[in-house]
């Protein structure tokens, strides 16, 4: 699938996210930034996360870029791209953006292609086999 790179430093894709209650009707889509500096699955603003019905299951410590540490909440959720669905760990953030980290990329066995000359970005989930 093609994502967005126009006028932006970070690549963005549109995807469906939901909690343990399953997909919403109609489905709820989010614009998400791929942030390879984040080693988790999905980082989501709490204001967006609560209506999705994400289930809180754990606290955990995160390491920040400056080496300091923060404690945060982890939740169960799922991400869907096309017909492909993967369970992921969601963390709640104070920011305004939905971020997708390297755990998300690994879950979808993703291949990403960034072309800053032509400002193009493509994201391709691959089979598990």
């Amino acid at each position: 699938m093609d994502g967005e790179l126009n006028g932006s430093v970070s690549p963005k894709i549109i995807m469906e996210l939901y909690g343990v209650a399953g997909r919403h009707v109609p489905p709820v889509f989010f614009e998400a930034i791929i942030d390879t500096g984040f080693t988790g699955g999905v980082s989501m603003p709490i204001s967006l996360a609560l209506p999705l019905g994400l289930v809180l299951f754990s606290t955990a410590t995160f390491t920040l870029a400056d080496g300091s540490k923060e404690n945060a909440f982890l939740c169960y959720g799922s991400a869907r791209i096309g017909e492909r669905e993967e369970p992921l760990v969601f963390s709640l953030s104070q920011g305004n953006d939905v971020l997708l980290g390297t755990e998300f990329l690994k879950a979808f066995k993703s291949k990403c292609f960034l072309d800053y000359k032509f400002m193009k970005f493509s994201f391709e989930p691959q089979d598990h086999t």
Partner: protein, 93 residues
Amino acid sequence: METGQVLTPEQVAARGEKLYQEKLKAILEPENNGKFVAIEVISGEYFVGDTILGAVELSHKKFPNRLLHTIKIGYEGVYKLGRFSRPAYGWRA
């Protein structure tokens, strides 16, 4: 019905980190480095998995309604946030 001790998330995290540093670190490292441990902080029981979801799934078989504390074995934090990531909705460790 769940009865007994009720801990705040801050208490869960603090107890989890303490249990890990004082007891589990010596047991789990370095053989399990890179795996995840989900700690049920009231009983002190812990569950190791290759992934967070794997460790938590094991713990929920015995403690289905408890808030856990999860640690990546051998690492400072479960996840790293990049320079442009916003702070987690939580509290300073």
